[in-house]
């Protein structure tokens, strides 16, 4: 049997692996990849909706992570937060390339509708989303839906407007108020 000890994917371990990556430790990089790639691939695939693009973006993101592991500042973000942000940025940049724009068909939109309930259920059970959940619960359903859809699928205001069948100005206003309320709520929770 292999002798490598089992790897708990907790944040401390990920932080240790990242700091070893910064020193050029390839084995640490491999373990980091094993521990996080499934979560990060799910993030990329949701936004890009195409397997080949998501694979490319995941590779680019990990290349970025390898080269910038020394920039990772543990005091500013949890390792997975930092890595998720890199993957999302890559994915959103990828969609921004003009030739990559594609129209979101009705079929895709109905998939979002179908699965969003189950994603909200999973969110409600996620240990690291307890505070965020409590604050999302205080929003109106449409605001909650809009913020989560924007995050999960990387939607722009115009796409949200189309999906929710609301004028774009309304969507922007809901979004602005929704985000402000979440921020206020989270800061309130942390202050207690």
């Amino acid at each position: 049997m292999p002798t490598t000890p089992p790897l708990p994917a907790n944040e401390d371990t990920l932080a240790t692996l990242l700091s070893r990556c910064a020193l050029g430790d390839q084995q640490a990089f491999e373990r980091l990849y094993r521990a996080t790639s499934s979560k990060l691939f799910a993030v990329a695939l949701r936004i890009l909706r195409r397997q080949d693009w998501a694979e490319e973006v995941l590779q680019e993101a990990f290349i970025n992570i390898w080269h910038h592991a020394s920039d990772y500042a543990s005091e500013k973000a949890a390792p997975l937060t930092w890595m998720t942000h890199i993957v999302r940025n890559r994915a959103l940049d990828w969609l921004r390339r003009p030739q990559r724009e594609d129209v979101v068909g009705e079929e895709v939109q109905s998939t979002w509708q179908d699965e969003s309930a189950s994603l909200f259920e999973r969110l409600a059970l996620a240990r690291d989303a307890v505070a965020l959940n409590a604050c999302l619960e205080r929003l109106e359903a449409k605001q909650r839906q809009m913020i989560a859809l924007a995050f999960w699928h990387g939607l722009a205001h115009s796409e949200l407007a189309q999906h929710l069948q609301q004028p774009i100005g309304t969507v922007k206003t809901w979004m602005r108020r929704g985000l402000a309320m979440i921020r206020k709520c989270l800061e309130g929770l942390h202050a207690v």
């Binding site: 292999p2 790639s37 499934s38 998501a54 694979e55 973000a77 959103l92 690291d128 995050f151 921020r183």
Partner: protein, 224 residues
């Protein structure tokens, strides 16, 4: 736009992290970000606050080629098919799986004319999910806990002979157990394999005879 307005900074940072800031506005914001540490702090706060949304997404294992390509692109050690490096990952199988395997071997009947093989396949949480075992001419796959899968997908089990192509061992049961006959050529391959893997395939299994979807589970194969 006046970017030095704290309210506006906070709002744009939120929309940047959420992803709704798009196109030229996003590029402009990123330029500002590089030279404004206050704005970077604002982004960091939003990241910590909004990123838990990602924990709602069910993990999806990327295909093994992503890792191989990464190794190649970063000039890391030679990325050979089913390399030692890849299978070192099997070390991630939890000690629970190893313990389950040991227990299974201990209680399995000792009668076995030819070599019998057994593998415990762990799930993404490193919990034992299936036990695969062979005995004489039969293969048994037992699901330890029921699994859910999309209606248009099947899970296919593969034997991974060293230096050879994966050999299909049939579809995985999502609950209960199944027993199938092992053709002689397939039986012969077990002696050269140290692992099995499970890939996601279209309903009914891979149309090509080789894995086409992502490898989602794997397990070490040992002689019992």
């Amino acid at each position: 736009m006046r970017y030095n307005d704290p309210e506006l900074q906070r709002r744009l940072a939120g929309e940047y992290v959420l992803g709704t800031l798009k196109g030229r506005a996003r590029a402009r914001f990123e330029r500002l970000l590089r030279r404004d540490s206050g704005l970077r702090d604002e982004v960091a706060v939003w990241q910590e606050q909004l990123m838990p949304l990602a924990s709602a997404l069910p993990p999806i294992a990327p295909p093994t080629r992503v890792w191989r390509n990464l190794q190649t692109r970063l000039g890391m050690r030679a990325a050979t098919r089913f390399s030692l490096a890849f299978w070192r990952n099997l070390g991630l199988i939890s000690s629970t799986a190893v313990a389950a395997l040991a227990l299974y071997i201990a209680i399995a009947p000792l009668h076995a004319p030819g070599p019998a093989y057994v593998a415990v396949i762990a799930d993404a949480q490193a919990k034992p999910a299936w036990i695969v075992s062979t005995r004489d001419t039969t293969l048994t796959i037992k699901a330890l806990t029921p699994r859910a899968l999309a209606a248009n997908q099947s899970l296919e089990l593969w034997l991974l002979p060293e230096g050879g192509k994966p050999v299909s061992l049939g579809l995985m049961p999502l609950a209960g157990s199944k027993t199938a006959l092992l053709p002689a050529p397939v039986r012969g391959q077990f002696a050269h394999a140290q692992a099995v893997a499970v890939s996601v395939e279209p309903v009914g299994g891979s149309p090509t005879g080789q894995p086409t979807g992502p490898v989602v589970y794997q397990g070490a194969l040992i002689v019992s």
